[in-house]
Amino acid sequence: MNYLLFNNEILMSDGQVAQRMIKGADLKACVDSIGQARICCVDVDVMIASAPEDYLDKKDNILVQKFIEMYSDEYITLNERISQNIFQVMGIKAKLVKEIYALIPSSKVESLVPYAYTIRSFLMNKQIDMTKPIIFVDDLGQEKLITVIDGLKFSRTRTINTDSTENILPDIKRSYINFHKKLGGFSENTNSDLVIITNNQQMAHSIKISDPELLVDFLDCQYPALEGLKYIDPQIKYRIHEEIIRERKDKEWHSRVKSFMIASSISLLGLLFFGFNQIAYSLAARAFDTEKLKNIQLKEMLEKMDQEIYRDALRQMKGVNYSLKFFEISNVLPSTYDISTFKFTSRQEHWIFDAYLFAQDDQFYDEIPRIKILKKAEIKDFFIKDHPGKYLKVAL
């Protein structure tokens, strides 16, 4: 991980060794070799504003609107919650953000935060009492960076170009007064003791001599902002509008691809189900066609066969000699009976002979003997045309 501080000049550290780079042609070649980076930027405008925190979109719009009213240039802003409905809005000029990203691609930048934000993280990490207003003076050699921190709130960082460490106190006090003016109604620690912290021991000593009542502290850290970058929330990052649009488009594209995949999968499942049933139906239809073809062939074969065998079948079905059977029955019947009516009827496998017999007027009503062909005959008594008679049924 690399840590960079963007101001008039650029400080870069690999976590161990820091180096100073001047903006120019060689810078691009130098930063091309770096991997992931966390960057802080000094030129950040800050304001405290109120907005309803329950409605996220509305809140962001209100804060951006208020920021634009105060700073007319084109800014990219971030905001953080200070207290209920109170937010700190931190804006970097869009031009500067584009310049940074032109130098280091956005994909390599893990986070891009205000310089004051990293100083605050640094102080918190050093367990400095943050209940009192702090003025942090960062000695970068030719440049002195003055940042006022009051709890979570911080000021715009002022850059003082001076080598001297002795005459800086008026600038420090001016920064503090300006900060409180700007805070206005959002100021809390107006009466608290002011603490000046610097990373230059000589400067701390000079300030103490200039105003013995001031609380002055020395922190032994050459580049506190680069150190503070190690402890920041890595998710905070200024992003240019084009990148947001590109990301949104990417997100939309991914979302569309995902939806397309889901829709395709659903359709595919339906298609698979359809395909499975189509195959099952095809197999069943093929089996049916085979049976149907076989059925047609069998029927044709049977028709040909029926035409060839029907005469033989008829011959086998024609069973009885009617005349012979008639006389067989007549000969067994007593002579006292006359056959009134008779009938030969064909039943599937055999013939039935049935007849009505009546006794002659001058003859006895005799018993019909159950012999020979009449052994199993069905014989019933009847009245035929006012004469007693018999019904006879014989299976031939």
Partner: protein, 164 residues
């Protein structure tokens, strides 16, 4: 857009499922019909096996069978002298025998229903001769008697003449 894609996917899937369910119904029907046909084919095969036992003859056209039948009737009339009337059961004065063809249980074979009416028997001996003639008629032609009934000295023979 995304929701629309998913909806379109769902609609397409629904159409496929609808089609698949219709296919499933058709498949079940095809399966049922196939089973039914398979059973019928089995029955037909059994019938063919059974019919293998019959002697094969050259099939006879029904017009030829009718000629033989009529001539045989005329021979019986000439020998026994008994008037044997026969009809097709129609009521028109002129009619084609083709109008009276009926299907039979033999495939490709049709039948012509015929009603033979013999009247005025003098005695039972006459009756026996007529019955014998009917028996001979059956054996010499493709006529098959289904019923013979007598009442008041009249004999009615119902039967069918077979042919292709």
């Amino acid at each position: 857009m995304n929701k629309m894609m998913i909806w379109v996917g769902l609609i397409i899937a629904f159409l496929f499922i609808e089609g698949a369910l219709n296919l499933r119904v058709q498949e079940q029907e095809a399966q049922k019909s196939k089973d039914h046909l398979a059973a019928e084919n089995q029955r037909l095969e059994g019938e063919i096996n059974h019919k293998q036992s019959f002697k094969k003859n050259e099939p006879r056209y029904i017009s030829k069978a009718f000629n033989l039948f009529v001539n045989q009737m005329k021979i019986f009339e000439a020998f026994s002298g008994t008037q044997m009337n026969f009809s097709l059961g129609g009521r028109k004065e002129k009619e084609s025998i083709e109008d009276h063809f009926v299907p039979t249980h033999f495939r490709g074979v049709k039948a012509l229903p015929i009603l033979i009416n013999v009247q005025k028997f003098s005695n039972q001996t006459d009756m026996g001769e007529v019955l014998n003639d009917i028996f001979l008629l059956e054996n010499r032609t493709d006529f098959k008697v289904s019923e013979i009934s007598s009442e008041n000295n009249a004999l009615v023979v119902k039967g069918e003449l077979y042919g292709i």
